[in-house]
Symmetry: C2
Subunit: 288 residues, 2 copies
C-alpha cells in the first residue's frame, strides 16, 4: 500500500486506528476454547467486527512464535485473512547484519505478506537497508518506545562534540546535544523517505511528540501504548497529527479484550468505533 493510498483510506474511514492482534490464548473468551484454532477464530472475528473502524492491523510475532511453527502458521493465516484494503504491519522488531536482515525482510514481506515490518535500530544502517530496499513495502524503525526501559538507552544524552550534534534546529529542546532516540530519528530519516519509512513513537511519551515532529515532520508515526498502557489519544493527536494525518495509533488489549463474553467481537467493534469517532474529530480539526 502506497503512502497516497494509505492517506486516502484514512480520509475515507475517518480513522487512523491500528488494531493490534496481540492474541493471548489465556485471554480468549472461554466459549472459543484455548487452542490455536481458537486463536485463529478469535482473530478472524475481531477482524470482521473492526474492519469498518480501523485502517490497519498490527500482528506482534511474539504471541505466535511462543507456539513455534504451528503458531507461525496461525500468524500466516491471520495475515492472509486481512483484506488488502487494510495496512498490514508485522510487529517483529527484527534487525541483523545485512545478509541476515535480508532474510527477515523476505520472511515478513514475501512469505507473510505484510505491508510493513518494525525493526530495531541498534545495529545501524546495513541492518535496516534490506527492509527499505523492498519495493512497495514499509520499514518502521523503533524511535521512542512506550515502555519504562526506553529511559535506559533511548534517552541517553549524546556528546554534542562527538556525533550528537543535530542539524535540525530544535525549538523544544533548546540545546544542541541530542538524546539517542533523536539521533536515531534524524539519522534513519536520511536512509528512507516518508514514502517507505515510519517510526515507532510510544503514546505514553506523548509530550515528546512535539519534539519528534520537529525532527521528522512528514513521516508517519506508529504510536502504540494507547489504552492499556495508559497513553492519551487526545494528546497524541494534538502533537502528532500533520497535514496528511501522519499517524497510525495502535490499540491492542483495549480493543481485542473489551469483553471476554460471547459478544467479544461486538464489544471490540464498539471500542474501535469509539476510537474512530474521536479520531474523526481530530482529523476534521486538522482538516485532513
Amino acid at each position: 500500500m502506497t503512502r497516497t493510498e494509505l492517506i486516502a483510506r484514512i480520509k475515507e474511514t475517518g480513522s487512523f486506528l491500528c488494531v493490534g492482534l496481540d492474541t493471548d490464548l489465556e485471554k480468549l473468551p472461554s466459549h472459543l476454547g484455548n487452542d490455536l484454532a481458537a486463536m485463529l477464530a478469535f482473530n478472524r472475528a475481531i477482524i470482521d467486527a473492526t474492519l469498518p473502524y480501523c485502517v490497519s492491523y498490527k500482528i506482534n510475532s511474539a504471541f505466535y512464535e511462543a507456539y513455534g511453527s504451528e503458531g507461525w502458521q496461525i500468524m500466516q493465516e491471520t495475515f492472509d485473512y486481512i483484506p488488502d484494503t487494510h495496512f498490514k504491519i508485522a510487529d517483529a522488531k527484527r534487525g541483523d547484519i545485512g545478509n541476515t536482515s535480508h532474510r527477515y525482510a523476505k520472511a515478513f514481506f514475501e512469505t507473510i505478506g505484510a505491508d510493513a515490518v518494525t525493526v530495531a535500530p541498534y545495529m545501524g544502517e546495513d541492518s535496516i537497508r534490506p527492509f527499505l530496499e523492498y519495493g512497495g513495502k514499509w520499514t518502521i524503525v523503533l524511535g521512542l518506545t512506550s515502555n519504562a526501559g526506553s529511559a535506559n538507552f533511548q534517552r541517553l544524552k549524546l556528546d554534542s562534540n562527538k556525533g550528537g550534534f543535530s542539524l535540525v534546529p530544535n525549538i523544544v529542546r533548546g540545546e544542541r546535544g541530542q538524546q539517542l532516540y533523536e539521533n536515531v530519528l534524524e539519522t534513519a530519516a536520511q536512509w528512507g523517505s516518508e514514502k517507505s519509512l515510519m517510526f515507532v513513537i510510544g503514546a505514553t511519551q506523548a509530550s515528546e511528540l512535539e519534539n519528534v515532529r520537529s525532527i521528522v515532520p512528514n513521516h508517519f508515526l506508529l504510536v502504540p501504548g494507547v489504552g492499556a498502557q495508559g497513553g492519551s489519544l487526545e494528546e497524541v493527536a494534538r502533537y502528532g497529527l500533520n497535514a496528511d494525518c501522519g499517524l497510525l495509533v495502535n490499540a491492542s488489549r483495549a480493543v481485542i479484550y473489551a469483553s471476554a463474553g460471547k459478544e467479544f467481537a461486538e464489544a471490540a467493534a464498539s471500542v474501535a468505533l469509539a476510537y474512530r469517532t474521536e479520531m474523526q474529530e481530530y482529523l476534521k480539526a486538522k482538516m485532513v
Copy 2:
C-alpha cells in the same frame, strides 16, 4: 547448561568454537537438492561432523523464518538434533515490551529448547528481564556488533554529564565519556550476573576487546565475525580470553560452506578441527 558445565566442556574439548547454522538453500551442495528437507539433512550432517570440535551451535532464526512456519519446523528439528552436550544458541535478536518479551523467551527457551537467546538492547531493562528471569537459561545482549552499521549508533559518544559517566575506570579509552555500546555493557551487566548473561562482541572489532574486558572482565562473550566477515581468531583470543575462557567464537560460513561437494561435511569438520587446534594453543597459553 550452567556456566560451570560450559567451562568444563570447553576444557574437555579444548575448543570454544560455536558453529553457526546460517543455512542458505541456495548454497547447499547440489546433490542434496534445495528444499527444506535438504536444509535439515545438511544441518544434521554438519552437526554430526563437527560435534567433536565445537562446544556450541548457533542457529540464526532469519534463515528459517524466511520460509514461514515450515522453516520454523526445520529450525525446531535442528535444535532437537543437537545433543545436550552442546550449548544451543538461538540467534534471534529479539526484544519488546516486557509483556511481549516474555512470549519470545517462551518461544526460544521452552518451545525451541535453546540454552541461550540473543536480544537487542534498544528497548532497555524491561525488554530484557523476561529472558534473564528464565531459570537455567542464558541471555546474550548485543554489545558491539560485527557489521559496518555498528558505527551508526553503538559508537556514538555520550555526554559525560548526562548519563554517559562511567563508574568503571577505563585505561584504554583514557577519558570518561562513554560510547553507547560501553554504556550498554556496563548497564546490562547490572541486570544479570555472569552466570546467565553474555554479550555479543563482533570479531571484526577485536581491537576493542581489551576495552570490553575492562568493563565486563568475567562475562562470556559471543564473538561472531571470524572467517567470512574477516575477524582474526588470534586477536580475539589475545584480547578476549579470561581465566575461565570467557569466549564463544562463532564461525558460520567458513565452516558450513567449506565445500559445496559431496564431501561437504568432512570439509566442515576439517575447518572446525583447524579452529580447535588453534584454540587449544590459546587455551593452554592462558592455562584454562
